[in-house]
Symmetry: C2
Subunit: 385 residues, 2 copies
């Protein structure tokens, strides 16, 4: 079974060989590469996985052009081989379907995935032309963040990113490093979400903007990190690299950053609030969901009347109207506002804790949503009546 495979470092062919590998670990690792494998790419090489056996590990790489991912798994009977390219989707599908522990057998031009009396033999390709791992360079910042903090920050602001392709920088999430913590911010011009981790009162020392499509891969990657583990982060002007360990092996990812930084978003956050309403988060969210059922399909408009002791939500659409009231503690005069139900719900979805404050700067000027213990804040611009 042993034969030779192409190994560019040695300008020639090198021995392939057999290695045994846990199916579940391999499946997990490959499930991450799925998020990167580019199915609709103009570069067919990006539909391949780049694999190599080295130092008792199997290293599998995928690249979308924007996001690069490497997963490393310990293997029994590890042999040196590769790098070679294997067709991504068929390889992943084969591993997912394998009946039990997998043996990989690398031969010239083929990788054979075997388990029991089943085998799938895939044609391999020359790795030439597959993108190199992005060099992060010496002019960089290195640090580490708890995996759960980074996930929370990115996840809690992700919804506020603009969906419009022409919105430039608003298609990204700004990450700011402060001396005592960090901050994630996203906005689409009609709403904004901010998540602070630690102390962010000072001026940020670094600001980078991650494209939201890259974040959509990064969050599931980070969810694989070992419980309580730290993510090693390296930053330059153009790249963010994150490395961490998982229960099944090592992960390293490199994201291309967006150019530019957010316009001064602090200006958008109102400072004066003539009306404040304290509401139960769950009641408000659920009432909003129920009332919005009959809202106008296009505008999704829901009206909110804040009065002493209560908040009244109403909506009117083509088929009828709906209404619900919930208790509220009001500071300031009664006021009537309208919001996009979806925007308000998106913002409320991320609020933690039992009570929240709606801070009203005016009928048509931005409303600030704050949770009990700070950290997360959202700004939503009311609808014009």
């Amino acid at each position: 079974l042993r034969d030779k495979v192409y190994y560019p470092d040695h300008d020639g062919w090198q021995k392939g060989g057999n290695m045994r590998i846990g199916k579940e670990a391999l499946k997990k690792a490959l499930s991450l590469t799925k998020l990167v494998l580019n199915k609709r790419t103009s570069n067919p090489l990006l539909t391949y996985l780049h694999i190599r056996g080295h130092d008792g590990e199997l290293a599998v790489r995928a690249s979308s052009g924007e996001v690069d991912l490497e997963v490393r798994l310990p293997v029994e009977d590890g042999v040196e081989f590769g790098p070679i390219l294997v067709p991504g989707s068929p390889a992943i599908l084969a591993v997912e379907n394998a009946p039990g522990e997998v043996e990989l057998v690398v031969e010239t031009g083929t990788i054979s995935i075997r388990a029991g009396k089943w085998r799938a033999d895939l044609a391999t390709a020359n790795p030439e032309g597959f993108p190199d791992w992005p060099e992060i360079g010496p002019d960089r910042f290195d640090g580490h963040i708890a995996a759960t903090d980074l996930i929370r920050a990115l996840f809690n602001v992700r919804y506020a990113v603009s969906r419009d392709s022409y919105r430039g920088i608003f298609r990204g999430i700004q990450l700011e490093r402060h001396a005592g913590g960090f901050r994630a911010v996203a906005s689409d011009g009609y709403r904004m979400a901010i998540q602070d981790i630690g102390n962010t009162n000072d001026q940020p020392t670094h600001k980078v903007v991650l494209p939201s499509v890259a974040v959509d891969s990064l969050i599931p990657f980070l969810r694989e990190a070992e419980e309580g583990s730290e993510i090693n982060v390296s930053l330059t002007r153009s790249l963010l690299e994150a490395a961490f360990t998982t229960p099944w092996g090592g992960v390293r990812t490199s994201l291309r950053l967006m150019e530019g930084e957010f316009p001064d978003y602090q200006n958008v956050i109102p400072k004066e609030f003539p009306v404040r309403a304290v509401l139960d988060v769950k009641s408000f969210r659920e009432a909003l969901e129920r009332v919005s059922v009959l809202a106008d399909e296009k505008s999704q408009r829901v009206d909110l009347l804040l009065e002493e002791g209560r908040a009244v939500l109403t909506a009117q659409g083509d088929y009828g109207e709906s209404r619900e009231e919930i208790p509220a503690t009001l500071e300031g005069p009664s006021i009537s506002l309208a919001y996009s139900a979806r925007y308000l719900l998106d913002a409320l979805q991320r609020v933690s804790g039992k009570v929240m404050t709606l801070q009203i700067s005016g009928q048509f000027s931005p409303t600030l949503i704050e949770q009990e213990d700070g950290g997360y804040r959202a700004v939503v611009v009311p609808l014009r009546v």
Copy 2:
């Protein structure tokens, strides 16, 4: 709150009123109407639910033009009202979102769905023009079938119905009534599935063809039937009506039948089998799934070599090839055949019991699949090499 609503039987207006109703029961009942409500209809009335309060029950009807459904729920404080029409999707959405037990309040021009401090008021419409319940007529057959038997028969053959809109009668499932049982048959010309319930050796006394789209509603309806319950079935040349009880109330449905009957499908079932292979169902199914992963995407071709003691499955596609062998008991000479993996898998999916027999009539003539205890049979035509 009490007012008048339009009531055509009394050519004028009749009192509406309040009634309390369990949310979960109403939700269940309305979830069935969802399967019938016609969203893309040229008749806008078919997007409405037809409702009436009568005799302590709330009766809700929906019609797709092909399938009519009526669900009946007992209500507390039942009042006489209607029939009225309510916009289907908004009403269902409102009930699904209601916080707890629901009170319906019928007033002129409105139905109000209330729970606690929440309410949704829907504009109602005049029921004129909504299709009448299809009259089944006196020239009919009445009988009853265990719900589980009818579900099994329809479900086990449904996959073999043709997907091509021009295939006429092959877009339906033929139901045959025999003196001692009944049979369901479906075919698309390349494969066939037959499910017998009871004794079907005699000539059928009735044959009807149900359109597969109607069956796709009927199966979920029947799954709501009370455990161990019987379905009352009435049949004419053009209609099948089924009525049964569920844990939450009564259901009645009327399906329009297809015209014509199946060509003599018995001719298609081969009678002579030079080769028979006995296989473990699960092993065969799983091996087929695994091997087909690398099959040619278009043809889905999998090759099967039957030899003394074993069955060898192989597939070849753009990316490589796969192979698995499983034990088999062979009667007759070795033979090599090819099948569409999807067709063979569809047929195997419905086989019950531990072992099955592949009965080979020839390399290119139909293969008959039989399960241990009879009842279900499938015919699959091998691919030409």
